[in-house]
C-alpha cells in the first residue's frame, strides 16, 4: 500500500515512539565515525529524533525572537514554515529523498490535542457563550457554504476546461477537496491572531469558528470520502440523509463526550486533596482521554477536547491547588506551543517532497481565488443575517478581518494526505493545491493581516487590569438585565444565563467542588483575591516585607501602600542593613520556603488590602521610614500558634478560625511591662532568647501548606533551630537594632550600647518599638510607651474588636491613628525577610 510506504518514509514524529523499530534503513545521517555505536543509535533513534526535532524547533523560536523587529513584522508561523522549507531542502539534498513529513496519524493523535486543549481550557467562556450564536453560524453554515461553493466552483472550472484534463476528478472529488480545504484551521488562526491582538469579540468569533467547524469538516470529509469510495453511482438517497444525520451525531456526540469527561475530571479533582501532585496529570490525562474517545467513536475530537476544557475549567481551577493551577497552565502552554512549532516546521518540510504532489496551475489558482472569494461572500451574507439579531452588529471592518483571517492550515494538509490515491486519482494535485493554499494563507495572509488590521483601524483588544468595581458592576448589570428580561417577559439570553448560574450554584458546584473551594468560585472574591496577590507580589518585589498575623488586623497596612508607592528598596538599603543581618540567618535556618508560602498565602487570604488614604500617602511614607530597622527583633517574635485541624469546613467560617487563632498566639514576655503579658497581644513581639519558648513545632510542611489552611492562621512559627541560632548570631543584631531604635525612640530607654549609629529619624516619635530588650540585658529598662500599650491592648482585647477596628479604618485618617498611637503601624507585626531573597 502506498500509504504504508509513505508513512514509512515519513518521520513518525511521536508515532515513532509507538513503533520504535519501524525504520531500519531510513537513517538520516549515517555518520561514518559512529560505526561503533550504530546499534545503540537504533535503539534510541525514534525518540531521539523526536526530541531533536522539537529542540531544533525550539531553538529556532529562540533565534526568531532575538530580533524584535522580525517577530513584530512576521508571524512566527511564517518563520517556522520557511525554516521548515529550508530544513526540508537540506534533508532532501543530503539524503536525496524527502523525509520527516507531517504524518496525519502523528498530527491528529499527538500534535493537535495539546493545541486544542490549550485553547479550549483557556477560552474566555463568557465571551464564547455571549457570541455562541455567531460562532455556530460561521462554523456550521459557513463551513458548509465554503465547502460546497468551492467544490462546485472548481468542478465548474474543470468543466470549463480551465483545469488540465489530467486532473481526473468528478464532482464528488471536488466536493471532497472543497470540504477539506474550506475549514478554517484553529492552529493557524491561533498562531496568527494571537500576535495581531484584535478585539476580543472578533477574535473569539474567528477562533471559535475554527474550533467548532471541526465537526463539520470531519463529517463532510468522511461523507464525501465514503461517497467517493462507493462511487457516485452507488450513492442512495438514504446516504444523503445519513450524511446529514451524522453531522448531528458527530458534533453533538463529540460535545457530549467532552462534557462527560469534563464532569469526570471535575469530580476527580474534588478528591485529590491528599495527592495534590497528580492533579495536573489528571487534567491532561482526562482531556486526552476525551480526545481519544471521541476519535475512537469517530466523533469530533476537537469539539470533545474543546468542550472538556471549557466545561471543566471552572471547577478544576477551584479544586486543584494553586501550584497545580500554575503547573497546568504552564504545561499546557508549553505543550501547545511546542506542538504548534513542530506542526508549522513539519508543514514546511513536507512541502519539499515533490514526489507527493503534482502541479496544475489552473487548479491551484482557481482554488486560491475561490476560497478567498467564497469566504468573503459567505462572511458578508452570514453577517448580514446575524446582524439582524445581534445587539452589537459586526461592521464592515470586522467582516474584512473575518474574511481575511480565514486561514487554512495543518488540518487540511493532514486530511489531504490521508486521501486514498486509488480512490481519489487526483490526490497528488489536491496535495499540491493544499500545500499552496496553506502556504499562501499562512505566509501571505499571515504577513499582511497585521498591517491590514492597523490600516483598517480595527478595534484592538485593550488590556486593562481587572478592578473590583468593574467586576462588581458587571455582575450587577447581569442581574439587572436578567431582571429586566423577566419584567419584559422575554426569556432571552440573560434569562437563561441567569437560570444556568442558579442551577450551577445549587447543584453542579455542590457536586463538583470541594467545599473549601467555594470561595474561589465567587468571581468578585476571585478578583479581590487576585488583586491582593498582585499587590503583594509587587510589594514583595519592591523589597517589602510580608507582614504577618496582626499586621493584617492592625492598622499597620498603610505601610504596604506606602511601600509600594515610595521606593522601599532604597529605604531598606539605606537604613536597615545592620538589623537585617541576623534575619537572614534565621531565614536560612528555618525551613524557609514552605513557611513563606504559608505566610504569604495567609496574608493574602486574610485580606492584605487595607484601606488607604491616598491623600495621606506622604504621611504613610514617612511613617514607615523607620520600618526596616524593626527587622532584627521582629523576626524573633515567638508566636505560638494553634495549628488548626485542616478540615475543609474551616473555610466556611474563617472569622471563627481567626478568632481562635488570635487566642492561640501566646506571647511570652519576659519581665517586660505587664501590659503586654496579660494582654496576650496578638502580634505583640517578644524576644525569645531561650528554647523554652519554642512553639509546639507546627513547622511540618503540610500544616503550613497554603491551601490547607484558611485565611486565619497568620502567625509565625518559630522552630527550635531558630532559637538555637539566635543567641549567637542575633546578639549583635539585637544590639544594633535596639541601639538604632533607642537612639531614635522614646527618651526613657536609651541604655543599650550603641553599636551602630543610624541617622536619627525625623519622626522619631514613631520609633518606640515592641517592648523587647537584648537578651544580654536581664533588666530591661525599656519603657513601654503608654500610647503604645494602649494601642496594643485595644487591638488585642478580643477578636470581636477587630472587625470594628477595620470598619473604622476607612473613616479614620491615617494621620489620626498615627497620632493616637504613634508607631503602632509598623511594629506590631512579625516580618519575614522575604525581600532579601528576592
Amino acid at each position: 500500500m502506498l500509504r504504508a510506504a509513505l508513512s514509512l518514509l515519513a518521520l513518525p514524529l511521536a508515532g515513532a515512539a509507538e513503533q520504535p523499530t519501524q525504520k531500519p534503513e531510513s537513517l538520516g545521517e549515517p555518520l561514518p565515525g559512529l560505526e561503533l555505536f550504530r546499534w545503540q543509535w537504533h535503539e534510541v533513534e525514534a525518540p531521539y529524533l523526536v526530541a531533536l526535532w522539537i529542540l531544533v524547533a525550539s531553538l529556532a523560536k529562540i533565534v526568531f525572537h532575538l530580533s524584535r523587529k522580525v517577530t513584530s513584522l512576521v508571524p512566527e508561523s511564517c518563520l517556522l514554515i520557511l525554516l521548515g522549507l529550508v530544513l526540508g531542502g537540506i534533508v532532501l539534498a543530503v539524503a536525496k529523498k524527502a523525509e520527516y513529513q507531517l504524518e496525519p496519524g502523528t498530527f491528529f493523535l499527538f500534535l493537535l490535542p495539546p493545541i486544542v486543549l490549550d485553547s479550549g481550557y483557556f477560552m474566555p467562556s463568557r465571551l464564547f457563550f455571549d457570541n455562541l450564536g455567531a460562532i455556530l453560524t460561521y462554523a456550521v453554515v459557513g463551513t458548509l457554504w465554503n465547502a460546497f461553493t468551492t467544490g462546485a466552483a472548481l468542478w465548474g472550472l474543470q468543466q470549463a476546461g480551465l483545469v488540465a484534463p489530467r486532473v481526473q476528478a468528478g464532482l464528488l472529488d471536488f466536493l471532497l477537496f472543497g470540504s477539506l480545504i474550506s475549514a478554517v484551521d484553529p492552529v493557524a488562526v491561533l498562531a496568527v491572531f494571537e500576535e495581531v491582538h484584535v478585539n476580543e469579540t472578533l477574535f473569539i468569533i474567528v477562533f471559535g469558528e475554527s474550533l467548532l467547524n471541526d465537526a463539520v469538516t470531519v463529517v463532510l470529509y468522511k461523507v464525501c470520502n465514503s461517497f467517493v469510495e462507493m462511487g457516485s453511482a452507488n450513492v442512495q438517497a438514504t446516504d444523503y440523509l445519513k450524511g446529514v444525520a451524522s453531522l448531528f451525531v458527530v458534533s453533538l456526540g463529540g460535545a457530549a463526550v467532552g462534557l462527560v469527561f469534563a464532569f469526570l475530571l471535575a469530580l476527580t479533582t474534588r478528591f485529590t486533596k491528599r495527592v495534590r501532585i497528580i492533579e495536573p496529570l489528571l487534567v491532561f490525562l482526562l482531556a486526552y482521554a476525551a480526545y481519544l474517545t471521541a476519535e475512537m467513536a469517530s466523533l469530533s475530537a476537537i469539539l470533545a477536547v474543546t468542550m472538556c476544557g471549557l466545561g471543566c475549567k471552572k471547577y478544576v481551577e477551584a479544586n486543584i491547588s494553586h501550584k497545580s493551577r500554575t503547573t497546568v497552565k504552564y504545561t499546557m502552554k508549553t505543550l501547545a506551543s511546542c506542538a504548534e512549532t513542530v506542526i508549522f516546521m513539519l508543514l514546511g518540510i513536507s512541502a519539499v517532497d515533490s514526489s507527493k504532489w503534482a502541479w496544475d496551475s489552473g487548479l491551484v489558482l482557481g482554488t486560491l481565488i475561490f476560497i478567498l472569494f467564497f469566504r468573503a461572500l459567505g462572511v458578508v451574507l452570514q453577517t448580514w443575517v446575524l446582524n439582524q439579531f445581534r445587539l452589537v452588529p459586526l461592521d464592515k471592518i470586522d467582516q474584512v478581518v473575518m474574511s481575511y483571517g480565514g486561514l487554512r492550515g495543518a488540518v487540511a494538509f493532514a486530511l489531504v494526505i490521508l486521501l486514498d490515491r486509488t480512490k481519489v486519482p487526483a490526490k497528488d494535485y489536491f496535495v499540491a493545491t493544499t500545500i499552496v493554499v496553506v502556504f499562501f494563507t499562512v505566509i501571505v495572509q499571515g504577513l499582511t493581516i497585521k498591517p491590514l488590521v492597523k490600516w483598517l483601524k480595527v478595534k484592538r483588544s485593550e488590556h486593562h487590569k481587572p478592578t473590583l468595581n468593574q467586576e462588581l458592576h458587571e455582575h450587577t448589570f447581569d442581574h439587572i438585565l436578567a431582571a429586566v428580561e423577566d419584567v419584559v417577559g422575554h426569556h432571552g439570553y440573560h434569562y437563561w444565563r441567569d437560570r444556568w448560574e442558579q442551577f450551577d450554584k445549587k447543584y453542579l458546584s455542590q457536586l463538583l467542588m470541594r467545599r473549601s473551594a467555594y470561595r474561589i468560585r465567587d468571581q468578585i472574591w476571585d478578583v479581590y483575591y487576585r488583586l491582593n496577590i498582585r499587590d503583594a507580589i509587587s510589594f514583595v518585589d519592591q523589597g517589602g516585607h510580608v507582614l504577618s498575623s496582626t499586621g493584617l488586623t492592625l492598622p499597620s497596612m498603610p505601610s504596604r501602600n506606602s511601600m509600594a508607592e515610595t521606593s522601599v528598596t532604597n529605604l531598606l538599603r539605606e537604613s536597615g542593613s545592620g538589623a537585617c543581618l541576623d534575619l537572614q540567618v534565621i531565614d536560612t535556618v528555618r525551613s524557609g520556603r514552605d513557611r513563606e508560602d504559608a505566610v504569604m498565602h495567609h496574608l493574602l487570604c486574610g485580606g492584605l488590602y487595607k484601606p488607604r488614604r491616598r491623600k495621606d500617602g506622604v504621611a504613610n511614607a514617612e511613617a514607615t521610614n523607620g520600618k526596616p530597622r524593626d527587622l532584627g527583633f521582629q523576626d524573633t517574635a515567638a508566636v505560638i500558634l494553634t495549628v488548626e485541624s485542616e478540615e475543609e469546613e474551616e473555610d466556611s467560617d474563617s472569622s471563627e478560625t481567626e478568632k481562635e487563632d488570635d487566642e492561640g498566639i501566646i506571647f511570652v514576655a519576659r519581665a517586660t511591662s505587664e501590659v503586654l503579658q496579660e494582654g496576650k497581644v496578638s502580634g505583640s513581639l517578644e524576644v525569645c532568647p531561650s528554647p523554652r519558648i519554642i512553639p509546639p513545632s507546627p513547622t511540618c510542611a503540610e500544616k503550613e501548606l497554603p491551601w490547607k489552611s484558611g485565611q486565619g492562621d497568620l502567625a509565625v512559627y518559630v522552630s527550635s533551630e531558630t532559637t538555637k541560632i539566635v543567641p549567637v548570631d542575633m546578639q549583635t543584631g539585637w544590639n544594633q537594632s535596639m541601639s538604632s531604635l533607642e537612639s531614635l525612640a522614646s527618651p526613657p530607654c536609651n541604655q543599650a550600647p550603641t553599636l551602630t549609629c543610624l541617622p536619627p529619624h525625623p519622626r522619631g516619635a514613631e520609633e518606640p518599638q515592641a517592648p523587647l530588650y537584648p537578651p544580654s540585658d536581664p533588666h530591661p529598662s525599656f519603657a513601654f510607651p503608654p500610647s503604645l500599650a494602649k494601642a496594643g491592648r485595644s487591638h488585642s482585647e478580643s477578636s470581636a474588636d477587630l472587625p470594628q477596628q477595620q470598619e473604622l479604618q476607612p473613616l479614620m485618617g491615617h494621620k489620626d491613628h498615627t497620632h493616637l498611637s504613634p508607631g503602632t503601624n509598623s511594629h506590631w507585626c512579625i516580618q519575614f525577610n522575604r525581600g532579601s531573597r528576592l
Binding site: F389, R390, L391, E462, H464, T467, L468, N469, Q470, L472, H473, E474, T476, F477, H479, I480, L481, A482, A483, V484, E485, D486, V487, V488, G489, H490, G492, H494, Y495, D498, R499, K505, Y518, R519, R521, D522, I524, W525, Y528, L531, G607, Y609, P611, R612, R613, R614, K615, D651, S652, D653, S654, S655, Q711, L802, P803, Q806, E807, Q809, P810, L811
Partner: protein
C-alpha cells in the same frame, strides 16, 4: 409585528411615549401587552405586588431593588409611561441616537443614563453617593455565602477606595462613571429586543 401595530391605538399617548423613550411601535405594543398581562386586576397601573409575582425576580439578588426602581419617590403605582420609561434605559444604543441635536434632552438610553440607573440601585438613601455601607449591602447580595462578613467588608473597603477619588469614603456618580470608563456599558446594559 405588523399585525400587532393595529393595537398601537390602544396605548394612550403613544406618540409622546415614543418620542420620550425612542421605542419602536412594535416594541411599545409588545410592552403594552406585557404591561396588561402583569396588571392582574386591569386597574391600569402596576403595583409592587404585580411585579413581585414574577417568579424569577424573587431569586434575583437585585430583584427588590429593581422593582423599587419602577416606583420612584415612594409612589405606589406605576402607569404604562412610567413602566416604559424605566425599560427605555435598556434600549440598545443605535446610530441615530448618537447624533441627536443638543437641544433635545439626553435620550434615556444614553450611557450616562444607563449608568445612572445602575447607580441608583446602589444608592439607597439617594444622597448621590454610594457609601461603604451601601456597597457592603450590594456585595452581600451578590457574593456567595461562602465569603465571610469580614472578608466582605474588606472587599467593600477595597471597592470603595478603588473608585473613591476625592477621598470622602464614598463613591459619587462621577467616580462611579469613571470606574467603569473602560467598560462597554452601552452594550452591557442593553437588551436587544427592546428596540
Amino acid at each position: 409585528m405588523g399585525s400587532r401595530s393595529s393595537h398601537a391605538a390602544v396605548i394612550p399617548d403613544v406618540d409622546s411615549i415614543r418620542r420620550e423613550t425612542g421605542f419602536s411601535q412594535a416594541s411599545l405594543v409588545r410592552l403594552h401587552h406585557r404591561f396588561q398581562a402583569l396588571d392582574r386586576n386591569k386597574k391600569g397601573y402596576l403595583s409592587r405586588m404585580d411585579l413581585q409575582q414574577i417568579g424569577a425576580l424573587a431569586v434575583n439578588p437585585l430583584g427588590d431593588r429593581i422593582i423599587e426602581s419602577f416606583f420612584p419617590n415612594g409612589s405606589q403605582r406605576v402607569d404604562f409611561p412610567g413602566f416604559v420609561r424605566v425599560l427605555a434605559h435598556f434600549r440598545p444604543v443605535e446610530d441615530e441616537d448618537t447624533d441627536q441635536d443638543p437641544k433635545k434632552p439626553e435620550p434615556l438610553n444614553s450611557r450616562r443614563n444607563k449608568l445612572h440607573y445602575a447607580f441608583q440601585l446602589y444608592d439607597l438613601d439617594r444622597d448621590g453617593k454610594i457609601s461603604r455601607h451601601e456597597m457592603l449591602q450590594v456585595l452581600r447580595l451578590m457574593v456567595g455565602v461562602q465569603v465571610t462578613e469580614e472578608q466582605l467588608e474588606n472587599i467593600a473597603d477595597r471597592t470603595v477606595q478603588e473608585a473613591d477619588e476625592d477621598g470622602d469614603g464614598a463613591v459619587s456618580f462621577l467616580e462611579f462613571t469613571k470606574s467603569l470608563e473602560k467598560m462597554d456599558v452601552e452594550q452591557k446594559m442593553s437588551i436587544r429586543i427592546l428596540k
